[in-house]
Structures are given as C-alpha cells and as structure tokens.
Amino acid sequence: MNNLSYETVMLEEPNLSKPRYLLVGLPDAGLVGQIASEYLIRELSMTETAHLYVQKLPVIAQISNGLAKPPIRLYHWQNLLVLNSWVAIPPNSVHEVASMVCDIASKFDVYTLISVTGIPISNRLDAEKLNVYWVSNDEGLAQEMGRMGLASKFDEGYIAGPYAQILLESKRRKLRNLVITVESFLDLPDPEASAVAVDVISNFVGFKISTDNLLKEAEGIRSRIRGLMEETKRSISGRTGPTTYA
C-alpha cells in the first residue's frame, strides 16, 4: 500500500484510443452510476483492466463464478475506461477514493472524467420523464455541454459525497470532470434513471448502445442489488452535509 492506502493491481495494460474517457460508477443515490457502469461493462463486453484495493473501505470480496475479486475494478473498451464499485464509500474514505480516481485519470491520460449519480426527487414514481442535468469543473467542457444539448445545466444546488470530492480534486489537478445527474429515488435502486444516464454518456462519448436490456432486466437488477442499496443508504445518512439536490 502507498501513503494513500490504496493499491492498483494491473491485470492488463490497455491499448486505448483517444480521446480517453473515465466513467466512474460509485454507489450513491438510486445506485444510478453503479447500475449504469455495470450495464456498460456487460453490454460492451469490456475487458477487466485492474483491481483496486482501498485499505479503509469495508472488507467485501465479490464472488463471481466461485472466484473472489475486490469490489472496485477498472475495465476498458476502445477509448473508454469504467471504474465500478460494489462497495459503498463511507464518508471517511471519500478523499482517498477521489484521489484514487484522479490518479487513474492521470495515469491513463484521460481527457474527461465522467461521474454519474442521481438527484433524488420525492415524487419519483409519478414523474412522467426523468430530467437529467450536467455539472462541470471546466469552462470549456461547460460550453461543450451547452452546445451538445444532451442535458440541462444544473444551475444551483449541492453535490455531496464522493462525487463532490472527485469534482473538487479533479479541478485542483486541472482534470476535466463532467457530472451527469438524473432524477431518481434516493434509497431505492433506479435502473430506469440509469438508462437515461447511459443514453447521455453514449452520446457524449460517441458510441451507440441500446438501453432495452437494462429496462427489461430492471426487476432482476433491483433484486440483485438490494444489499448494496442498504449499505449505500447507511453511507449517505452518515454524511455531514446534504445529498445532491437542486
């Protein structure tokens, strides 16, 4: 472990085309980012690139086909890296995880970091359409998003938790960070909101993907991901500040 108490174990050196993007799917409101990143990994048949070991996080080994893996892993496909976490990030690990994310972005010469999360709305179930917003830490990126018209600007409000720290740490390091936030449940898994996020991400990065399977498998995802949502809810309620809101 280095002085930041995390370690990266590379499984494969990726040959990435440019411009490179790093999508970050951490458990947060509605598990919007986590479900979206998991879906992209599966649908794009992304290659497992690295395992991340973070000392302060709760000890969870994810078992797949009888094989234990750390819950935070990095994948790649063409010019896209995806960092996916199956463990909630407690408030005392937020700085560490944000540093780790920025280190990865620097290591792979990433052009834009993309964070995906939910913005909780109380009447989520009755919403006809889920609104999607963007936040940026870079003037050029903000202008780009304004021109592309993929989402509305998140005018004023708060972003809390790991995504807030990634936004600030990446700004400090002069890395571009785009946050995509979709109206969602706070404490129920929300695959439908993730589908909206996947549409925006694919259009922004420039690849085609259907979200039909995500919507079709929504019940199965909600059933599978229940434990992570419970754990994430505890992490969110342990924060000193608010969660993301406009």
């Binding site: 109380s122 009447n123 989520r124 179930l125 449940f185 706070l186 129920l188 898994p189 929504a218 909600r222």
Partner: protein, 95 residues
Amino acid sequence: MSRLERIRSSEAGDITPLYTIYEDDNSFYYIIDIPYVETSDVNVKIEGNKVEISCVNRKGHRYKLSFKVPPNASANDLKMTKVKGRLKLSIPKKG
C-alpha cells in the same frame, strides 16, 4: 423521513424490502420495492395504526414489512397499486 419510520425487524427468513416514504397535503405514500410481485400476491394486515405487508414473489422469496403509520394517517383507507414495478401504498391523512 425518520419521523415516519417505525419499521420493525422482520422475522428470520423473511426479506425486509427496501422502501421509501413521502407525503403531500392529502396522503402519505410508501413506495416498496419487491421485484417479481403482483398486488394480488400481497397480503396487507391492518391493526389500528400498524400495517403489515407480506408476500411470496414469483422467485419464491418471502418478503415482510411492518410499520406504524403516523397518528394523522388513516390506515384503514389504505390503497395499494403497482406503479412502474413498485408497490405504492397511499394512506390518506385524516380530516
């Protein structure tokens, strides 16, 4: 939200479903996430201000959730619907 939350732990073997609560001027709403279930599979027991929901979903998983509604909620007038794959309990406010 914690004001409304009086959820008891379920008996061993039952899964406590994820749920969330909100309210408007007229009602309290409990959104309960039980995948693979229809409203016709769900038993609702109301005793005073206590509501108990139990069911077995299409995958054979048993779910149980019990909670006390706020004093100004009329539990006996509870209505259950399935909206976008989730159970929605609407409990009107009294008077």
